[in-house]
């Protein structure tokens, strides 16, 4: 049962061949069995999930109208606010934060009769590509538990691969949905910026963040996107355009589909097995009638540099509110004040006038200690990067310059989409790597986003779908490989159709690891 697609399960639910309670219980059992090793979830509340499932079953039995998800369990990345339930963002800073409100997507999921099965692990504040930056624990890749699931939506992808949920919500700022989807062998869509409301998504980089669906198949992702997408008056950046019925158009065939292969995506650093799988996927499309064309995104080589100016700049500002005053973690005040008093005493004893003058006030020390203790190293690294990039005298050189390059990257895409319908290539340059392999080398970790960040910078849509497995010769066990397809802004319906078309001709999306 757990290996079946969400769309399939929904059919059984709707004719009452299956109850939401049975289904939810099955996933809870799977979580109980395997999440000890996978560690995809930060919080699961079985009683609440089952109560909700029962309530939906009762309503269906009474013949009441049903929402689109009619009793399907959905896992939610722990960066999205759920009213009355902890939302930690994978950070000690928000370890005990309980939002008083639901994110717009959570509201929509509830209205669609989803069963919220749990909150998934992630890199702290969505900063990272391996979920090793969670303040709580590292999530493992269900295909090889010595490897990372990708990130930052690592828990969201891993819980799907381990069949612990049929649907999952991730967020993508530079590749955080697509790269873990590739690493875990599932389907993950980053919608166009503005397609899904960000209200209630704890911000990392506001101009890049986007919530998106993760699932086994493009069809399931379409079902979930239909629920998530739509204008939200609470988010000024959400697009006020109608949401297509993605599931309806999904099986329409394409005539004369034109695909672009980006020259720059097949350069040095690309793993040969990944390249081979991607080239094989291109052939699949050709066999289905698509024509393929080489294209260039000349400014994509500046993508990482641009991203690592803009994202940390916005993050340094978005994370300023975590200062121990209003909510979240606060340093031990008694201890802090005692330390301060001791420092003052010793400075007075030394008659160190300058030291005394520079000594923190209690307020400044509260800020310092709270932030020093509450944030992990990667978050601190990015706050420092961003603070520097926005400082007087540097903003012109870094932040404003990055905004200019960002516009050029978008123009590259606009030009490319004049020639082709979609751009396809690898999602990540390599298969999932070993836990700890890159954690000492932030730069190597940043290069994980090489093929994905430009979609965020340009604000366009992108999807990652499974397109192969490594042979296992170099990696020990077979590991998933992801194919990335990028589309014009707000072209998700056609993007999902292109992904579904591939999945009708292949079975990579049905492969599941041996737990």
């Amino acid at each position: 049962m757990l290996a079946r697609s969400a769309t399939d399960l929904l059919r059984d639910l709707s004719v009452r061949k299956l109850s939401s309670v049975e289904l939810t219980q099955a996933y809870l059992d799977q979580i109980k069995l395997y999440d000890g090793q996978v560690k995809a979830f930060l919080h699961v509340d079985p009683a609440a999930a089952l109560a909700r499932a029962k309530e939906i079953d009762d309503r269906r039995a009474a013949g009441k109208p049903m929402g689109k998800l009619g009793g399907l369990p959905v896992a939610i990345k722990d960066v999205i606010c759920t009213k009355g339930q902890k939302t930690t963002c994978g950070s000690k800073m928000l370890e005990n934060f309980v939002p008083p409100y639901d994110a717009t997507v959570v509201k929509r999921l509830k209205e669609a009769d989803a069963v919220l099965i749990g909150k998934t692990n992630m890199d702290e504040f969505a900063m990272g590509g391996s979920t090793e930056n969670s303040a709580f624990f590292k999530t493992t890749n269900p295909w090889d538990k010595s490897r990372v699931p990708g990130g930052s939506s690592g828990g969201a992808a891993a819980c799907l691969a381990a069949s612990m949920a049929p649907l999952s919500i991730g967020t993508d700022t530079g590749g955080s949905i697509r790269q873990p989807a590739a690493f875990c062998g599932v389907t993950g869509l980053k919608p166009t910026y503005g397609r899904v409301s960000r209200y209630g998504l704890v911000a990392f980089a506001s101009s890049l963040d986007q919530i998106g669906p993760m699932a086994a198949t493009a069809e399931d992702a379409a079902l979930l996107l239909e629920v998530l997408a739509g204008h939200d008056p609470l988010d000024s950046t959400s697009a006020n355009i109608p949401t297509p019925e993605y599931t309806k158009s999904l099986s329409q065939p394409f005539q004369g589909l034109k695909l672009g292969l980006v020259k720059e995506h097949f350069g040095p650093g690309l793993d040969p097995e990944v390249e081979a799988a991607v080239r094989e996927a291109v052939k699949v499309y050709q066999s289905l009638g698509a024509t393929v064309k080489d294209i260039s995104l000349p400014h994509s080589k500046y993508g990482i540099a641009t991203y690592y100016i803009i994202a940390p700049s916005e993050a340094s500002s978005n994370l300023a509110r975590y200062d121990g005053v209003h909510y979240g973690y606060r340093t031990d005040e008694k201890q802090m004040l005692a330390e301060l008093a001791a420092e003052r005493k010793s400075l007075e004893a030394k008659q160190d006038e300058k030291g005394l003058k520079n000594l923190d006030t209690a307020l400044i020390r509260l800020y310092r200690k709270t932030r020093a203790e509450g944030f992990g190293p990667e978050v601190k690294r990015r706050i420092m990067l961003g603070t520097y990039a926005l400082s007087a005298g540097y903003a012109d050189k870094y932040y404003l310059q990055a905004l200019k390059v960002r516009r050029l990257i978008r123009s590259d895409y606009d030009a490319a989409f004049q020639e082709v319908d979609f751009i396809i290539g690898p999602t990540a340059p390599n298969p999932p790597f070993k836990i700890g392999e890159k954690s000492g080398d932030p730069l190597a970790m940043y290069l994980e986003d090489l093929y994905t960040v430009t979609a965020n910078l340009a604000g366009i849509a992108g999807i990652s779908i499974p397109c192969g497995l490594t042979s296992g010769k170099t990696t020990g066990s077979p590991l998933p490989i992801g194919l990335q397809i990028q589309a014009r802004p707000f072209d998700e319906d056609r993007l999902l159709r292109a992904a579904a078309m591939f999945q009708r001709g292949t079975d990579w999306h049905t492969k599941r690891p041996n737990l």
Binding site: P99, P233, R321, Y327
Partner: protein
């Protein structure tokens, strides 16, 4: 021998706009609620919350900027001004940095007492931003705790930055008075300084006439100015202080950065504020949570054509239409729009603008001040007062008696006719008046002789006697008739 110097003043005025809800959320902006009862996830900066611009606040800003003759760029955006303070829950204030919603305007100021010539004060920019919360220092129980009230957080503010165009404390005061008046006429703010709806910071330095040219002292920003009087006092103090410091140290604008000082009204001095606040780098950048605001030219014209008549225009219209002095028009306009309307009704109905102006600016205002009441509480309607003014203008009643009638009308809430009959006031028949005068002239040969000898003022004694014979005798008439009679005497 001290050098002469000019005072140079620019003012930054923060005005709370009178919207029902805050700038980026739907919380109420009402003043005085119990702490932290007018808050929501957005204005307290809850993780995940997002701002949405209040269009009404933008429209009020636009109205004000247009009234201040500002250019309205078609494109404006929001920026984050970043600093840490407990009453700023997001760690940044949403404001406008390099592309404000309006710029390059002016406000004309003039002084009816003619202490300075009418002039235009430049408006560098007027931009919107959100207010911060309030820190309440609770020193009960000897704990010196600070409590934060976030009710005010997110209230829309318009920051109006003037050019350094004011040259005296008087000009600064008149600018503030005129600006406040305009804001009140526009209905965009209640401008209540006690409640913090209007706040003023002053940038001030002096230009000293040195032996080899003009010397500018370092600029000081003066904060904590809680009334217009504080502004005047602080500016006067700063001018002298800066002169003294210059004499002592020779420091000029070139070798010393701008500093911030706070006004201590009780001590009558300004004191330096902490250095950390001076050297702040706000790391401004465009707020990615908000979309830019586009204001089409047509919208600007629509707001412009819908503007109410502004104080300056009303003043010159009153002077032209009713022939009143600029001093009087200033007094009338200062009282606000209802007062202007009242005056105009009295002027029109009585047919004598000048007399109407005298009555409202003197007698009516005296009652309002003495009884501490507003115009709405004043017992006489404009037609009632107009009636009295008309009687005075037509010579039906002389001025001292008219004032008695006015006081009676106010005290007993009745119109002029009723008051006059209660006071027994009636116009004296001209033949009766002539008879009284004849008798008086006949009975006072000494006075007649004095007048004949050129002592005109001697006639005064007759006026008093006439009043005794008939209290309604008009002294001017009595004087005229008596002089005529004496002149005819051999």
């Amino acid at each position: 021998m001290p050098h002469s110097y000019d005072l140079i003043v620019g003012l930054e005025v923060h005005v709370q706009l009178q919207t029902k809800s805050k700038l980026f959320c739907r919380c109420s902006t009402k003043f005085g609620g119990p702490p932290n009862t007018q808050t929501c996830p957005v204005c307290i900066g809850m993780p995940g919350s997002l701002p949405v611009m209040n269009r009404e606040a933008f429209r009020l800003g636009l109205k004000t900027a247009i009234a201040l003759n500002c250019e309205i760029p078609q494109f404006t955006k929001w920026d984050r001004k970043q600093y840490y303070y407990p009453d700023l829950p997001k760690g940044y204030q949403i404001s406008q940095y390099d592309l404000p919603m309006s710029q390059n305007g002016w406000l004309e100021i003039s002084d009816p007492k003619k202490e300075f010539a009418a002039k235009r004060i430049g408006i560098i920019r007027a931009h919107l931003e959100e207010d911060a919360g309030k820190s309440l220092h609770d020193e009960e129980h000897g704990k010196a705790d600070t409590r934060i009230d976030l009710n005010r957080t997110g209230t829309p503010l318009l920051e109006i930055v003037s050019a350094p165009d004011m040259r005296s404390t008087k000009e600064a005061r008149v600018y503030l008075t005129q600006l406040r008046l305009m804001l009140l006429y526009l209905g965009v703010s209640d401008c209540n300084m006690q409640e913090g709806s209007l706040r003023v910071d002053a940038n001030v330095n002096i230009h000293i006439q040195g032996p080899s040219g003009k010397i500018a002292t370092p600029i000081v920003e003066v904060k904590n100015l809680n009334s217009f009087r504080h502004v005047e006092r602080a500016l006067a103090y700063e001018a002298k202080r800066q002169y003294d410091v210059w004499e002592e140290t020779g420091r000029t604008i070139k070798d010393y950065p701008k500093q911030t000082r706070g006004w201590d009204d009780a001590a009558g001095t300004t004191l330096p504020q902490r250095e950390k606040e001076e050297s702040a780098d706000y790391r401004y950048f465009p707020d990615p949570d908000l979309v830019p605001v586009i204001t089409p030219k047509a919208e600007v014209e629509e707001v412009r054509s819908g503007l109410v008549e502004l104080p300056a225009a009303i003043r010159s219209r009153l002077e032209k239409t009713y022939g009143i002095s600029d001093y009087d028009s200033d007094v009338i306009v200062l009282q606000g729009l209802p007062f202007v309307a009242y005056f105009e009704e009295v002027a029109k109905l009585s047919g004598d603008g000048k007399k109407a102006s005298n009555w409202v600016t003197q007698e009516l205002l005296r009652i309002l001040n003495d009884q501490s009441i507003t115009l709405e509480q004043f017992p006489l309607t404009a037609p009632q007062l107009a009636n009295l003014v008309k009687l005075v203008a037509g010579g039906e009643i002389e001025i001292t008696r008219a004032k008695e009638v006015f006081n009676d009308m106010v005290a007993n809430r009745r119109d002029a006719a009723a008051a006059m009959s209660a006071l027994g006031i009636a116009k004296v028949d001209s033949s009766e008046l002539e008879n009284i005068c004849k008798e008086l002239v006949a009975a006072n040969p000494k006075i007649v002789a004095d007048v004949k000898a050129g002592k005109q003022q001697a006639i005064g004694a007759l006026l008093g006697q006439a009043k005794k014979r008939n209290p309604n005798a008009n002294p001017n008439e009595v004087r005229r008739i008596c002089l005529e009679l004496i002149a005819k005497m051999p």
